[in-house]
C-alpha cells in the first residue's frame, strides 16, 4: 500500500498562533535596558526626598533636586576623569561631597605619601583603593615639617631640625623603626593587590615578603637603605623587572649590599630587565652571578659604586646587556686584570658615563675593551678625561653616535684622532668642552663633519667658526652644514 503524500500534511509543524497583544509590564520585567529605566525612574522619584533629608529646614517650595543622583558611578567617573588633570583640581573635586571624594579617590593610581600614619591607619587605602604606584620614601622620616632646612641628595631629601647635631648620618636617628615600616608595608600590601611600582626605605625582609605575597603584579621596586638581609625577601617577587637598590648614601645612611645580597638577588629575580645599584659593594662574583642568572637583563646602572677592584670583568657575563651606565662614580676599576680575561658584552649598544672620575688609564682601557661593540657613547661631566684616557675609545669600532659634554681636558686633536677611527659615526654632539677650540679644526675633521647626519658643535658658548677656515659656513646641520673646501 502506498501513501499519497500530497494528501497528508508532510510536516507536522504547528501553525504559528497569532502573537498575543504584548503587555508593557511583561516586556519591562524581562528587558534589561528597561530594567535600567525603571531603576533610574525610582531614583528620580527618590531624589527630592533625599535632598529634603539633607536640609530639613527647607521651605515648602519645590526642591531643586541633585541631578547627579541619577547618574551611575560610571558616568560620574567618566566626567571626573576628564577634569582630573591637575592635583589642585583633584583636591578641589574631592571636597564637593562624600560621593565625589570617594569617586575621585578611585581614579588616582599613583601617589607619594609624606605621613606614615595616613598609611598605617588605613586611610590611604580607604580613600585611594586603586593605587598601583606608591612612593613611601618621605613618609619614613620623622621630620619636622615646620623646619626650613631641607637636606637633599639626588636620591632623597628630608627636612632637618636646626637642633640636630651634625653626625652626617642623618637617617640613623630620624627614620621610623623597622617594625613600623614593615607594618606599613603589610597594610599597603593588603589594600593594593594591583601594586605595580613601589619605593620604600628602611624595610626588612619581612615587610618585603608581605608585599611579595600579596602583590603578585609588582614589577618595579626601589629599595633604599637596602642590605643583604633585606634582599632575602626579594626572591618572592617573581615578576620583578625593574629594581633599584640603594645601599650607601653619603650623609644619610650607610647600609651594605655585598656579593651575598647580589647573589641572592640573582637567584631570585630571574626576570630582571633593569637593575640600578647605588652605593653598593660587591665584586666580580656578585656581578658574574647576576650576569649568569638574569638572562633578560638589558640595562645596568652603577651609581657611586663601592665594588672591589677586579669586578669589571664580571660584566661580560651579561650576555643580553644593551645599556651600561655609570653615574657619580669615583672610579671605574683600579685593577681590572689582564685584557685577555676581560671578555666583552656582545649585545651592548649604549655606554653612558655621567659625572664620573675617569682618571685611571687601566680602568678606562678595560671599560672600553669590554664595551667594544657599542654603537652609542655619551660622556657627560667626566673629570680627568684627557686625551690619553679618551684614546682608548678607539677600541670601540662601531660607534654611530657620540655625545660629549662638559669634559674640559679633552683637546680637538685628541677628539679628532678617536673620531677618525669611528668609520660608522653618524651623529656627533660636542657641548661645553672648553679645551676644544674651533680654530683647531683641521680640514680633515671639517670634511668628516660633512658626512655626518647630525652635528651639534658648541664647545664654547660663542661657538662661531672663524672665517679663516675656508669654505665653511654656519647654517644648517648635517650634510648641508659644511661645504667642501675648494
Amino acid at each position: 500500500m502506498s501513501f499519497r503524500s500530497e494528501n497528508e500534511n508532510p510536516n507536522p509543524t504547528p501553525t504559528p498562533t497569532p502573537p498575543a497583544k504584548k503587555r508593557w509590564s511583561d516586556i519591562w520585567a524581562k528587558s534589561k535596558p528597561l530594567n535600567q529605566m525603571v531603576m533610574s525612574m525610582k531614583l528620580h522619584s527618590l531624589s527630592p526626598r533625599l535632598a529634603n533629608k539633607a536640609k530639613p529646614t527647607l521651605s515648602p517650595f519645590p526642591v531643586i533636586s541633585d541631578r547627579t543622583l541619577l547618574f551611575s558611578d560610571e558616568l560620574l567617573l567618566k566626567i571626573l576623569a576628564l577634569i582630573s588633570d591637575s592635583a589642585a583640581q583633584r583636591n578641589s573635586n574631592s571636597l564637593v561631597c562624600k560621593r565625589w571624594l570617594n569617586l575621585q579617590g578611585r581614579l588616582v593610581r599613583s601617589l607619594r605619601i609624606s605621613d606614615w600614619n595616613f598609611l598605617l591607619s588605613g586611610r590611604l587605602i580607604h580613600r585611594f583603593p586603586n593605587l598601583n604606584h606608591v612612593d613611601l620614601l618621605s613618609a619614613a622620616f620623622i621630620s619636622s615639617r615646620s623646619s626650613a632646612i631641607l637636606f637633599s641628595h639626588r636620591l632623597l631629601s628630608m627636612h632637618l631640625d636646626s637642633s640636630l647635631s651634625p653626625n652626617w648620618c642623618y637617617c640613623e636617628e630620624n627614620m621610623l623603626p623597622v617594625e613600623v615600616i614593615d607594618n606599613g608595608l603589610s597594610t599597603l600590601a593588603g589594600g593594593c593587590p594591583n601594586l605595580r611600582r613601589l619605593h620604600v626605605i628602611g624595610a626588612s625582609e619581612m615587610g618585603l615578603l608581605s608585599v611579595a605575597e600579596e602583590c603578585p603584579t609588582l614589577q618595579e621596586l626601589e629599595l633604599q637603605r637596602c642590605s643583604d638581609n633585606v634582599l632575602r625577601g626579594i626572591a618572592a617577587c617573581t615578576n620583578l623587572q625593574i629594581l633599584k637598590l640603594v645601599g650607601h648614601v653619603d650623609g644619610f645612611y650607610n647600609s651594605v649590599v655585598s656579593d651575598i645580597g647580589l647573589t641572592i638577588l640573582a637567584q631570585g629575580c630571574k626576570r630582571l630587565v633593569k637593575l640600578e645599584l647605588c652605593g653598593c659593594e660587591g665584586s666580580f662574583d656578585g656581578i658574574k652571578a647576576i650576569g649568569k642568572c638574569c638572562l633578560m637583563l638589558e640595562e645596568l646602572t652603577f651609581s657611586d659604586h663601592r665594588m672591589d677592584d677586579g669586578w669589571l670583568a664580571g660584566i661580560s657575563f651579561c650576555e643580553n646587556l644593551k645599556t651600561l651606565r655609570f653615574q657619580s662614580c669615583k672610579r671605574i676599576d683600579l685593577n681590572p686584570g689582564m685584557e685577555d680575561y676581560l671578555g666583552c658584552c656582545p649585545a651592548l649598544e649604549r655606554l653612558h658615563l655621567q659625572k664620573c672620575q675617569l682618571r685611571d688609564k687601566k680602568g678606562a682601557s678595560a671599560l672600553f675593551s669590554i664595551c667594544r661593540a657599542v654603537r652609542e657613547i655619551v660622556l657627560q661631566d667626566c673629570w680627568g678625561l684627557d686625551d690619553s684616557i679618551f684614546c682608548f675609545a678607539m677600541l670601540c669600532r662601531r660607534v654611530k653616535l657620540f655625545y660629549l659634554e662638559g669634559c674640559s681636558l679633552l683637546t680637538t686633536e685628541g677628539l679628532e684622532s678617536v673620531i677618525h677611527s669611528w668609520k660608522e659615526l653618524q651623529s656627533l654632539r660636542v657641548v661645553s668642552c672648553k679645551n676644544i677650540k674651533d680654530y683647531e679644526i683641521s680640514p680633515a675633521l671639517a670634511t668628516l663633519f660633512t658626512t655626518l647626519k647630525e652635528l651639534r658643535w658648541s664647545p664654547d658658548t660663542k661657538s662661531l667658526l672663524p672665517s679663516s677656515v675656508t669654505g665653511i659656513t654656519m647654517g644648517k646641520k648635517g650634510g648641508k652644514f659644511f661645504k667642501r673646501a675648494r
Binding site: 516586556i27 529605566m37 566626567i79 604606584h133
Partner: protein, 158 residues
C-alpha cells in the same frame, strides 16, 4: 505632533521610517529611525519585540524640550557651536537623558562638554552646577583639606 491613522501608515511606507516617542510632558514626537537607533534603550526594544511603530514608546524621564535638543544635536552631527548655546540646566538635562536613553556617542560628547565647563572651577561652582548638597561636617572638610595639602603629593609617571 500628532497625526491621523492614515497619515501614520503612509509615513511608515515612506523612505524615512519614524518612531513615535512619548515624552514626560505627554507630547508625542515622531523621530527618524536613524536617530532612534542611537538610543540603545529604544533600539533594543524595537529590535527584539518588533513592536508596532505607531504605538508611542514612553520616555517618562525625558521632556519634549530635552528631546528636541537631542534630536537637533544628533542631526547636526554634534555641533560644538550649537551646544554652546545651551544653558547649564539644558546641558544637565541632556546629560541625564543621554544616560537614561543610553546614547553612547551623545553621552561622550556631553560629558566632555560638561567636563570642560567644570575644569579649573571651584568646589562651590561645581556644587552649584549640579545642585549637590555638601554632606561634610566642617570638621570633616577641614581634615580633608589638611590631608590634601600635607599628606600626599602627586607622583609623575616617568
Amino acid at each position: 505632533m500628532q497625526k491621523t491613522e492614515g497619515e501614520e501608515s503612509k509615513a511608515e511606507n515612506e523612505e524615512v521610517k519614524q518612531v513615535t516617542l512619548m515624552t514626560s510632558d505627554g507630547v508625542k514626537m515622531k523621530v527618524e529611525i536613524s536617530i532612534v537607533y542611537e538610543m540603545e534603550i529604544v533600539r533594543s526594544f524595537i529590535e527584539v519585540n518588533d513592536a508596532d511603530h505607531s504605538v508611542p514608546f514612553p520616555l517618562p524621564n525625558v521632556s519634549s524640550h530635552t528631546l528636541d535638543l537631542i534630536i537637533e544635536l544628533v542631526k547636526n552631527e554634534y555641533d560644538d557651536e550649537f551646544m554652546k548655546t545651551f544653558s547649564h540646566d539644558e546641558l544637565k538635562e541632556v546629560l541625564v537623558a543621554a544616560n537614561y536613553l543610553n546614547m553612547k556617542t551623545l553621552l561622550d560628547f556631553i560629558a566632555t562638554a560638561i567636563a570642560n565647563l567644570l575644569e579649573k572651577k571651584s568646589v562651590e561652582f561645581i556644587r552649584n552646577f549640579f545642585n549637590i548638597v555638601n554632606d561634610f561636617t566642617p570638621e570633616e572638610e577641614a581634615e580633608i583639606r589638611k590631608t590634601n595639602e600635607w599628606v600626599f603629593q602627586d607622583l609623575d609617571e616617568d
